[in-house]
């Protein structure tokens, strides 16, 4: 009896949701527009460009570094320069994209100094990622603790993916996050303020049932987003979808649940719909820029990478990218799913303690 009641309530929630054109626009149309725009702006592939390398130390480490950079896909290494000042000017003028100078420190270690242009933030970030990746890989290899192959895999990957391939899972994660957070925060606050929850309290239906129905409707929307964006990406933008893409379904569901609970937490803490909107923006905007949605986190400065690792969107984006375009299955993204579930549990505890119906 209760189950059929939840079913009927879920259906009603879906009607309420899908009959609002604005919801459909933000959850389905806008992500496609964004993907098209960014795809046009930043071209089809991430190309790190041409890097000048001046090896002034000639140690085994510096030789290994030059080799590592030369074999990185998407990077062209030139060793035709010797004058640092001139090579720097080339970067400044845009003739080259970056300059790496390898010198010997007084302690005998090798120092790599990177000069890059900020003309293209994306490109600068990728170069930073590649160079810092290569150098840390060599340090690890030098101390003999791990095989160098661990890192090279990652850095080659982010550089060789077509940008639109890279972008699709990021936009999908973003769209699911925004729909889910807003789908429960603003709505909950509005219901409370308008007395809808109070009216429902007079019926024998427990209010949690009403919320479960809302969550079920929102998860349906998330599945629809997965289907529409992947189909659109594949057919219109020519994204090559991995055979493991089915694993994006559980990832999307867990991610949506996490952000629904986040929206519920916001809805529990604030009283006015306008405040809920503002708080939602404060939460989602930084996440959008720091979680590798548009731009690989690996290519960001170290402190940004540290921040990214506490953001749930980072894990959802990673897991969606792994499953949809990187050929990785469900088992591979289990750690990401685990993090999302843990965040969900923590937020659920917080929100249930602060929640009020009136």
């Amino acid at each position: 009896m209760t189950l059929s009641r939840i079913g009927a309530t879920t259906l009603a929630q879906m009607k309420m949701m899908f009959r609002r054109r604005i919801v459909l626009f933000w959850s389905l149309v806008f992500p496609i527009i964004l993907m098209a725009l960014l795809g046009l702006l930043f071209g089809r592939s991430i190309d790190a460009g041409t890097i000048t390398v001046i090896d002034a130390s000639h140690t085994p480490a510096s030789t290994a570094m030059v080799h590592a950079l030369s074999t990185t896909k998407g990077v062209t290494v030139k060793t035709d320069q010797t004058d640092v000042t001139h090579a720097r000017k080339q970067v400044q003028d845009g003739d080259r994209d970056a300059l790496v100078v390898l010198t010997k420190t007084p302690t005998g270690a090798t120092a790599a100094h990177l000069y890059y242009s900020n003309a293209s933030a994306t490109q600068a970030g990728i170069i930073r990622g590649i160079v810092s990746g290569a150098s840390s890989r060599i340090s690890v290899a030098a101390t003999g603790t791990r095989p160098a192959i661990v890192f090279s895999q990652q850095s080659v990957d982010s550089a060789s993916l077509n940008y639109i391939d890279f972008l699709l899972p990021g936009i999908l994660a973003l769209a699911i996050m925004i729909s889910a957070v807003i789908g429960l925060s603003t709505v909950l606050v509005t219901w409370r303020k308008q007395g809808v929850l109070r009216r429902l309290k007079l019926t024998p239906m427990p209010l949690w049932e009403f919320l479960v129905a809302r969550v079920a409707a929102s998860l349906t929307l998330a599945l629809l987003q997965v289907a529409v964006l992947i189909t659109f990406g594949a057919l219109v933008f020519g994204v090559s979808i991995s055979p493991t893409a089915w694993a994006a379904i559980p990832v999307a569901l867990v991610g949506a649940l996490c952000f629904l609970v986040m929206g519920f937490t916001v809805g529990s803490l604030v009283a006015e719909p306008e405040t809920a909107d503002a708080v939602t923006n404060v939460i989602t905007n930084p996440m959008m820029f720091l979680s590798g949605t548009f731009y690989p986190v690996a290519a960001m400065p170290a402190f940004v990478q540290t921040i990214a690792k506490v953001l749930p969107l980072y894990y959802m984006t990673n897991a969606l990218r792994d499953t949809i375009v990187r050929d990785r299955g469900l088992m591979y993204v289990m750690p990401d799913i685990g993090v999302l579930l843990a965040v969900t549990a923590v937020l659920a505890i917080v929100s249930l303690r602060t929640f009020r119906w009136e």
Partner: protein, 288 residues
């Protein structure tokens, strides 16, 4: 049989006593009105009976069942129209009614929706969204939602507040039909004297958190001990007098004024109303 038994009900908000130890009974099948000015404690009283607001002391029974501590035991027996409920947007009247029927685990939602839509005269708006309807239509929908699970007792909290006179009269017909044809017990609050007088079998007059009088409208008016109310203006001041003998009282009033050499305007003679009862009980004019 007693539909509602209210014993010594009290509710405080901090220092302010919103409802101060009130008691009354409502019989089954009765149309019962709680009349009073704004802030008298009507809505708080109603919400304690409905199970929305927990009383500080006292007890309420609905059809013999205690409402507190667990209001769920009376939920399916009562239907409630709250003072202001904005309902979900993007659901039609019919969908909302079927959904609410489902909340009560009824499987005959479609038939029930049709029945109550007819009852409140909203069939033409069955497939309209609530936000596309007029205030009066929204209020009818709220009443239909209170009726959809066929409860024995219906609570209407200021059902006609904010409606224009025409819409108010239309709604009165709806409420009369629920009570007379449907045989339901109806409890309504109002700050319209005329509404209480025309709709209710018995009226409790509330003022400053207490029930100050309770009787049939006719009984309350009879308690004034006067058959007529004479009012007039003298020197810009309104005067009211109550009397048994209309003709004698009017002549007396005019004669007295003539002897004083005073000018009387706007002389009117009519039967007394609940307004006069309130004036007599509180010494204040009733302000709607």
């Amino acid at each position: 049989m007693v539909a509602i038994q209210v014993d010594n009900l009290t509710k405080r908000y901090g220092e302010h006593v919103a409802v101060d130890g009130i008691s009354f009974q409502v019989e089954q099948g009765e149309a019962f009105g709680i009349l009073g000015p704004n802030g008298a404690g009507k809505t708080t009283t109603l919400e304690m009976i409905e199970g929305l607001r927990k009383p500080d002391s006292g007890q309420v029974h609905v059809l013999g069942k205690p409402v507190w501590p667990d209001p769920r035991s009376v939920q399916s027996l009562i239907g409630v129209q709250l003072q202001s409920t904005t309902l979900f947007d993007r659901l039609t009247s019919r969908e909302l009614l079927e959904l609410f029927a489902r909340f009560y685990n009824r499987t005959d939602g479609a038939e029930r929706a049709q029945v109550v839509l007819e009852q409140v005269g909203l069939v033409s708006k069955a497939d309209a969204y609530a936000d596309d309807m007029s205030g009066g239509q929204q209020q009818r929908l709220a009443i239909a939602l209170a009726l959809v699970h066929d409860p024995d007792v219906v609570f209407l909290d200021e059902p006609t507040t904010g409606l224009d006179p025409q819409a108010r009269r239309n709604l009165w017909d709806v409420i009369r039909a629920i009570h007379a044809d449907g045989g339901k017990t109806v409890v309504l609050t109002t700050h319209y004297l005329e509404e209480a007088e025309t709709l209710c079998d018995r009226v409790a007059i509330m003022d400053e958190s207490r029930v100050i009088a309770l009787d049939t409208p006719a009984g309350l008016i009879a308690s004034l001990g006067a058959e007529v109310r004479i009012s007039y203006t003298e020197g810009g001041e309104e005067r009211v007098a109550y009397a048994h003998d209309a003709q004698g009282a009017v002549l007396e009033t005019l004669e007295a004024a003539r002897q004083r050499g005073a000018q009387i305007d706007g002389l009117s003679v009519r039967g007394p109303s609940l307004e006069d009862v309130f004036l007599k009980l509180t010494g204040r004019e009733f302000r709607e």
